[in-house]
Symmetry: C2
């Protein structure tokens, strides 16, 4: 394994769209969402362990989840856990990791990946990652993994690429534009045009390249981190990071860099990906009966179709009659029953539940 290869696993999200399974004190990445016996972050860690040296695996997470990270990834080097005092989206997270990795190895190349995605074919995934890590060795480029869209999903970002001779046969393409969550009509036109991919949010670059990009496109953030460089990996790191996070903007790496940079390339991935971002995306991954009911637990279903039913307690029976296209999630202290078509309201529900019922319920 190449000692210059690093991976940064982002594990700071609170997964509120997955409420009430995902809870603020144990979000989605720390749950065995798919019933495989492993949590999503454990699956992510193990997926990379085959191609990235263990000591080069980093996890950025919120300070409140560091114990969960230690518990679920007992072999992770303690100093490779980078705790964020507060969530500021992905740009500060990537900058933090890049500065830390640069300190260890200025020649490093790094993969940035979410901790809570599903990869159905990890071998193909790793092949694409290695292709990207190789391409970024000599070239000052930012590589992303795109996903062939299977439907006009309005919950994803889209990447438009160019078919230019210079990348012919390389396995990747130059990126023309990044587009955030489009309307349904636009998503449909993207799919029809044939040169759009879903943005998986997985990026690969050398630390040099990304630090240069921060300097160019997000000079304020860059300067904040330059200012605390000497405190990194010392006992003063935590307060220094806190001061940076207190002052930096909440902004994604997509908005801050990807949409502006000229040297972005994309590999069209075919490794069976889902960001498991919502109940419906999880529904698509579950096994279903012939009426389209995905039942995770002990269920008895009558006169019902196309529901996702998830029960936390293994010895609980759920009997459902006369429902179509509903999300039913039963946890110890919350029961959610809502239409699939209303899943975008779940964030609102979580906010209301916090206000009306209290912290214990979110």
């Amino acid at each position: 394994m190449n000692k210059n290869h690093h991976v940064v696993i982002m594990a700071g999200g609170i997964g509120s769209r997955f409420w009430p399974m995902s809870r603020s004190n144990r979000p989605k990445q720390f749950l065995d969402v798919l019933g495989t016996g492993k949590t999503l972050i454990q699956q992510t860690y193990e997926r990379f362990l085959e191609i990235i040296p263990a000591e080069n695996i980093w996890v950025v997470t919120n300070t409140q989840y560091t114990d969960l990270v230690r518990e679920q990834l007992p072999n992770l080097t303690e100093s490779n856990i980078l705790p964020e005092p507060v969530g500021r989206n992905t740009a500060p997270c990537v900058a933090y990791a890049a500065f830390r990795i640069h300190q260890v190895n200025p020649k490093a190349r790094m993969v940035v990946a979410a901790s809570d995605h599903l990869i159905m074919n990890p071998d193909r995934f790793r092949k694409d990652i290695l292709l990207a890590l190789t391409a970024t060795k000599t070239e000052d480029i930012i590589m992303t993994l795109g996903i062939q869209p299977s439907r006009p999903d309005t919950g994803y970002g889209y990447i438009q690429y160019l078919d230019s001779p210079e990348t012919s046969g390389s396995g990747y393409h130059k990126v023309k534009t990044f587009t955030e969550k489009p309307t349904r009509e636009i998503a449909l036109s993207f799919i029809q045009s044939g040169d759009f991919l879903w943005n998986s949010g997985i990026f690969i670059f050398s630390v040099k390249t990304i630090l240069k990009a921060f300097e160019k496109f997000m000079p304020e953030l860059h300067e904040l981190f330059v200012g605390i460089r000497k405190q990194l990996n010392t006992p003063e790191e935590a307060p220094a990071i806190k001061s940076v996070y207190d002052r930096c903007k909440n902004i994604s790496i997509d908005n801050g860099i990807m949409e502006l940079a000229e040297n972005v390339f994309v590999i069209p991935g075919h490794f069976g990906w889902s960001d498991l971002g919502t109940w419906v995306s999880l529904y698509q991954e579950y096994q279903k009966d012939y009426l389209g009911n995905a039942v995770y637990g002990k269920g008895m279903i009558y006169n019902s179709s196309n529901n996702i039913i998830r029960v936390e307690k293994k010895d609980k029976l759920v009997l459902v009659e006369g429902l179509e296209k509903y999300i039913i999630v039963d946890t110890d202290n919350v029961l959610l029953i809502c239409k699939m078509d209303s899943e975008q309201r779940i964030k609102e529900f979580v906010g209301d539940a916090k206000k009306e019922a209290g912290e214990n319920f979110v």
Copy 2:
């Protein structure tokens, strides 16, 4: 209080239409269904305690519930608990109680009442009961309490009465016919005719009258009990009763006697009655929000109307979105979600749950 007045509280039912709140090891009568702080059988007991001497209150129940009866009615005389080895509907139950009471006091008059009904106005109820107890003192008649129907309910039996001069001003009428659960059209015609009442299943008669009726209309059952008369109220009572129940038919007092007897009278009751027989009948008794949702527990309701939601655990939150006319019941190990219109299927669901999931779930 008149020492000749007795009441027989029938508490052997398993309340399967109230599943999953009502469970085979703790049926409806032993639950605080209405959230009053008292179970239905406790409410029934206390309702009669004001007009019937404590030592004349009898409870017939299944052997498996005798401990629950003792626990919930600690002041009940132990020998006044009549355990049935198996449920055989109401006729054997009434016969058992009548033979026991006759032994104690041949002049006794007895009320037969379910343990799990709701009476909103107990004062009026007791007035009607006393009227019936008085009327049956000298007359060889069977008295019933009928309920002014408020809707063409197909789940109840109906009593048609005659307006004859002989009962004018008495507060009761001669019964013309008993009709079991009618179709909707017939129920509607009953309501329109104006001379039909719901059959509350509450009967009042002297023990002499009812024993005579058993002898006339159910001679086999009568003979079985005559045969074990000497064992009643002795250590041999339980095996003797078992032998009777092993041999007797499963039949209701309505079918066995009321529909055949000529001397049946009915008092039109106005005491706010419900047999709480189904979720929808319970729904009618609950307080509802302005959209018709009856929520018993901590609920958050969006875009939903006319649902009944009952959560056993007090510190559990139920969030419901996009449901209309559903029954949602959450217990420790069963969650039921079904259409109100399908409530007649709940018995079927219970049977399936027993088969497919096991005894623990029913």
